[in-house]
Symmetry: D2
């Protein structure tokens, strides 16, 4: 299945729909099986010790899977997150951006499911993993 949106189209969509957070993320790569999303860490995401907060990692995974769905189905009316499960595995590196490798596991008519593996830039050990389910609007 060819992609329906490329990086510029996805970033424009994100900027239009989620202006509060769009500047925080940058899409590094997109392909049929998934995409790579970067969290440009800034002071608002940080916790004592300079590591990225849990909610910021949650947002990274959530936006990442959402964009991967959009890339496959096009800019349809908004899908809604219905479930998320996240394991925090290691402390992120202080000062480093986070990278989420996102993969779609299911793209059904009603539900879509994806997962994200999050690392600190420059370190392969996973910082967090997350799986998210989206309910797609009736066609």
């Amino acid at each position: 299945m060819p992609l329906k949106m490329d990086i510029p189209a996805l970033e424009a969509f994100l900027k239009a729909q989620f202006p509060q957070v769009a500047e925080t993320f940058r899409i590094e790569a997109v392909a049929e099986v998934g995409l790579t999303l970067r969290l440009l860490t800034d002071e608002r995401h940080l916790r004592p010790g300079g590591t990225v907060s849990g909610p910021a990692m949650f947002a990274l995974a959530d936006v990442g899977v959402y964009l991967a769905i959009l890339a496959s189905v096009g800019p349809e009316a908004l899908a809604v997150t219905t479930n998320a499960s996240i394991d925090f595995l290691r402390k992120p590196r202080a000062g480093a951006d986070l990278l989420a490798q996102v993969r779609l596991l299911k793209l059904g008519r009603v539900l879509a499911v994806g997962e994200a593996l999050i690392t600190s830039e420059g370190d392969d050990a996973p910082v967090a993993r997350a799986s998210l389910t989206y309910s797609r609007p009736p066609q």
Copy 2:
């Protein structure tokens, strides 16, 4: 087991440890079995349509369970979230604060587990539920 921290002590701790987010939350009640935490919604938490974002609800549940642990054990060195699972059930009411009813299910030497039921103020239908696990530092 008597509580080791009351509302002013918990709010002071939150303000000292998490200055970026402390002003966002207000503790409504605290008791041995759990507490009630309010998210004072503002523009930063909102999504198109005026509803609160998923990451903001995640943060509400995360901070709520964390505070419930602190209330029971006192201001110990930081416990760390290791796992979170959240179900988004209904769209929050536009413009309303969110309230999380938090309950501790386990307070072990190594792990603590709590759950949060989130509603929009003025409406009993749950907006989200979450369960979170924290790893406690070695004593």
Copy 3:
């Protein structure tokens, strides 16, 4: 919303649909907000030390939420579990039956979500908690 199935109707449905497991469970109570399901523990559910296995607790929560949905909507074509999250909190009591207190949190046209709090009979401390999502078939 009045219940559409009572205990005998639910047990008959379970026996017809899931003959392999029906004899394992007994419905203790059913009401609009949820139900109580008993796992009659036997040797097949046990692990070393005489405690009930994780998969048996998973099955208890899964069947419990499923029955709570049926009680509300009637014997409709099978809903399917799409997500489950479970926290194992304490070792179950050796030799005791398990009881799941089940509560429906959402009963939508497409998705239903419920949670179960599992205890060993005769002990209030929770052994496990679970939340489960079901996808309902198109009407």
Copy 4:
């Protein structure tokens, strides 16, 4: 880190510790990063339509991650599952065995986390994904 247990050692351990279920599983491959576990489906695992039940898939993921931990750390006193999250993605193929590709994401002193991707033999589309956390006993 070299493996501390190979397939025969793991299968012997499983048979000694979990005699009720050991015959149900077969380890296909084991390596430092994870292992592949087969569920030999039989009548007890099936649901109407001939597909494998949710609890049987849960057990496959649970045993798979457990064995992957053992392969890395050796036959230590039993680790305990503390959390599991599972997404059911597609109906398994009727009559086919299930295969779980297991990967360890974290092997800490206190907690270990792994994930499993489950497919029906002969079909690459994932049937389920699961992530599990184990609490390791004090050394």
